[in-house]
């Protein structure tokens, strides 16, 4: 792994909405085959960073490279070629509601390959089997539970066998079991297929279980406040942000009763 080139390079990326900067001037690399997690509290710009990395939003400054090809300024065919390298699972799955799971997974195949129809169907079925949804493939997304939708979305993202999968909050809104199943799936895909994962999450359990490396963002600093192995960070870091996050310390103002005495006993 020492000689390996990073699959994604993010350089001086600044992103936000309108004129509010959410993430300011961050740079990092994602190495092939690793499970890379972007973590941080709510509102720290994790999802914004992800959407800038996959080219959905135009960053305010900076570049994103996939295997040395810059996505940020790519146009037309060049852009399509870069986009084809990764798949994305959105927070709510974003499956197309009018199509069955099978049709959802087949869609990218129909659009970008010339496989015979039978082959496409089989590829799509096997992708669904990979996420253990072979018994639900003719259902519409509305008939599925949240965890199933997310797994189906992973199957769709993998339809064209991308090298990289981006997952936006895979554990959000799931019960612990579904969430754990999803973690298992991530580990399985990462180990057997060597897929690189870039995951946005704040679920500590999933982080410890799946992550090879994390970067941590903070809402106020707007930069990366920590980087490395999550367990090492948890056990050794002295950084206040890291401690607060990994040890679940709330930053609520402690009630200082000396300043505003609420009640005195006796008059």
């Amino acid at each position: 792994m020492n000689e390996a080139q990073p699959v994604i390079k993010v350089r001086n990326l600044t992103c936000g909405y309108d004129d509010t900067v959410v993430v300011d001037d961050v740079s990092f690399d994602v190495m092939p085959g690793e499970v890379f997690i972007i973590l941080g509290g709510s509102g720290c710009g994790k999802s914004t960073l992800l959407k800038n990395m996959i080219g959905l939003y135009e960053p305010m400054a900076g570049q994103v490279f996939f295997d040395d090809n810059e996505l940020t300024n790519a146009q037309g065919d060049q852009r399509d070629r870069i986009i084809r390298k990764f798949g994305v699972m959105y927070q709510m799955g974003a499956l197309f509601g009018s199509m069955s799971l099978l049709q959802n997974v087949m869609l990218p195949l129909e659009e970008f390959t010339d496989l015979p129809r039978e082959a496409m169907t089989m590829v799509a079925k096997s992708k669904l089997a990979m996420v253990n949804l072979e018994n639900a493939m003719y259902k519409l997304p509305a008939a599925l539970s949240g965890g199933m939708k997310k797994r189906a979305a992973i199957a769709r993202a993998m339809a064209l066998d991308p090298q990289i999968l981006f997952l936006d909050e895979p554990g959000a809104g799931l019960d612990p079991i579904s969430s754990a199943e999803l973690d298992e799936l991530i580990l399985k895909l990462s180990k057997t297929l060597g897929i690189t994962f870039v995951i946005v999450t704040h679920e500590l359990d999933s982080i410890y279980k799946t992550a090879d490396r994390v970067i941590m963002l903070d809402k106020d600093v707007k930069k990366i406040v920590a980087e490395g192995d999550p367990k090492v960070l948890r056990d050794t870091s002295d950084d206040v942000f890291v401690k607060r996050f990994f040890h679940r310390m709330p930053s609520l103002k402690p009630t200082d009763t000396t300043k505003h005495p609420v009640a005195k006993q006796g008059t």
Binding site: G55, G87, F96, V262, Q265, G266, T267
Partner: protein, 382 residues
């Protein structure tokens, strides 16, 4: 000076106020739940607003029960006391209620949300509004350009079109609207013939009703009413469908799969509207003729008189001018419906707003385009 709220059989809360020197002593007793608090709120607040003291103390020893309403009362009393520059203290509050009060005691309560947006002047508001309008126009032009480019592309590569989606959309836009098109057409033909027949009868000119009906329906009302129905039925549906997809991140999913939402969602809808609207207009027109025929038959004219008069006075130019208008209306309505869907912001109410806006903009654009057509056709002599 003493103030006492009248004791009440139902709400057994009350507040006694006494002023001694520069200290106001409030003695609160009873049930400070919602009804009890309602009962004492106004007198209590009025008392503390009068001022004339530097310290206020509330003796809470006789509070028997307290919930959120009671906490609010205490907070309000504290706020009013602080406003008049006095201190406010609670005494003898039971421990469990003390914990309840402490949860929210030590906070600042802003009176209103202090946002720069609220404080901007007329000039700035005017500028912002103009900017929004210009932005809307810019987006519309960009959308038109993109749609045109992508339609030209599909003409060159018809295999790139998702024909199944076009077909489904045709069913939704055209076939499913057949009933309402025919119904409205029939009724409009019937009503217009009837109304004009009554007027013309005075001059013995009922015979001219078919001339009028053919011209008006084929040239004007057919395309216009069909387009308005399209805006109401399909323009709104387009906006709602695309808007919901946007909220569910489905549009983002398409984009990152390398599929353009334009080609995937907008083109099938534009194509289906373009193919269905002429058919819908024809159905509308003929249904209106049937309505007119019913009126004429009931007035004792033979059917052949009606049909021959309609078709002698209706020229090909008239027919096709109506059709051309209909095509333009179809593009405008379907286009603006899709555009509004794409512009949907986040939240369920945003979908409602895009749907409304799709219908309103659709109808406004139909009216403008119709005016422009009227002028052009006048100069062309059609």
């Amino acid at each position: 000076m003493a103030h006492q709220t009248p004791p009440s059989p139902h709400f057994d809360a009350n507040i006694n106020a006494t002023i001694a020197g520069d200290t106001l002593r409030l003695s609160i007793k009873g049930h400070l739940d919602a009804p009890g608090t309602t009962h004492v709120w106004d007198p209590a607040v009025a008392t503390i607003r009068q001022g004339g003291f530097r310290h206020a103390e509330a003796d809470c020893s006789r509070i028997e029960y307290m919930d959120g309403a009671g906490v609010a009362l205490l907070l309000k009393l504290r706020e009013e006391a602080h406003h008049s520059g006095a201190s406010f203290e609670l005494h003898n509050l039971r421990d469990d209620y003390k914990q309840l009060v402490e949860l929210t005691w030590d906070r600042d309560y802003p009176d209103w949300e202090d946002q720069t947006k609220d404080r901007r002047g007329l000039t700035e508001a005017l500028g912002a509004a103009t900017g929004e309008v210009l932005n809307g126009i810019r987006e519309m032009i960009a959308f038109t350009g993109e749609a045109t480019a992508i339609i030209c592309k599909t003409i060159r590569h018809p295999s790139k079109v998702r024909w199944k989606d076009v077909l489904l959309s045709c069913l939704a836009v055209g076939v499913d609207s057949l009933f309402i098109i025919v119904l409205i057409g029939f009724l409009m033909g019937l009503i217009m013939s009837f109304q004009s027949a009554i007027t013309l009868q005075r001059f013995g000119g009922e015979i001219f009703v078919p001339n009028m009906l053919g011209l008006v329906m084929f040239r004007e009302m057919g395309p216009l009413v069909t387009a308005i129905l399209l805006a109401a039925r399909s323009g709104s549906a387009f906006a709602a469908e695309i808007g919901t997809m946007k909220i569910n991140e489905e549009l983002d999913a398409l984009t990152t799969m390398g599929l353009s939402p334009m080609r995937f969602l907008v083109v099938p809808k534009l194509l289906s509207s373009l193919t269905m609207v002429p058919l819908m207009i024809i159905f509308f027109n003929f249904a209106s003729l049937i309505g007119g025929a019913v009126v004429m038959l009931s007035m004792g004219f033979p059917l052949v008189t009606f049909t021959s008069r309609v078709f002698t006075y209706l020229s090909f130019a008239g027919f096709f001018s109506g059709m051309l208008k209909g095509l333009v209306f179809a593009v405008l309505v379907a286009g603006v419906g899709c555009l509004r869907g794409m512009q949907t912001r986040s939240g369920a109410s945003a979908v409602g707003m895009s749907t409304t806006s799709a219908v309103v903009s659709g109808i406004v654009m139909i009216a403008f385009a119709d005016g422009i057509f009227a002028v052009i056709y006048y100069y062309l002599g059609i």
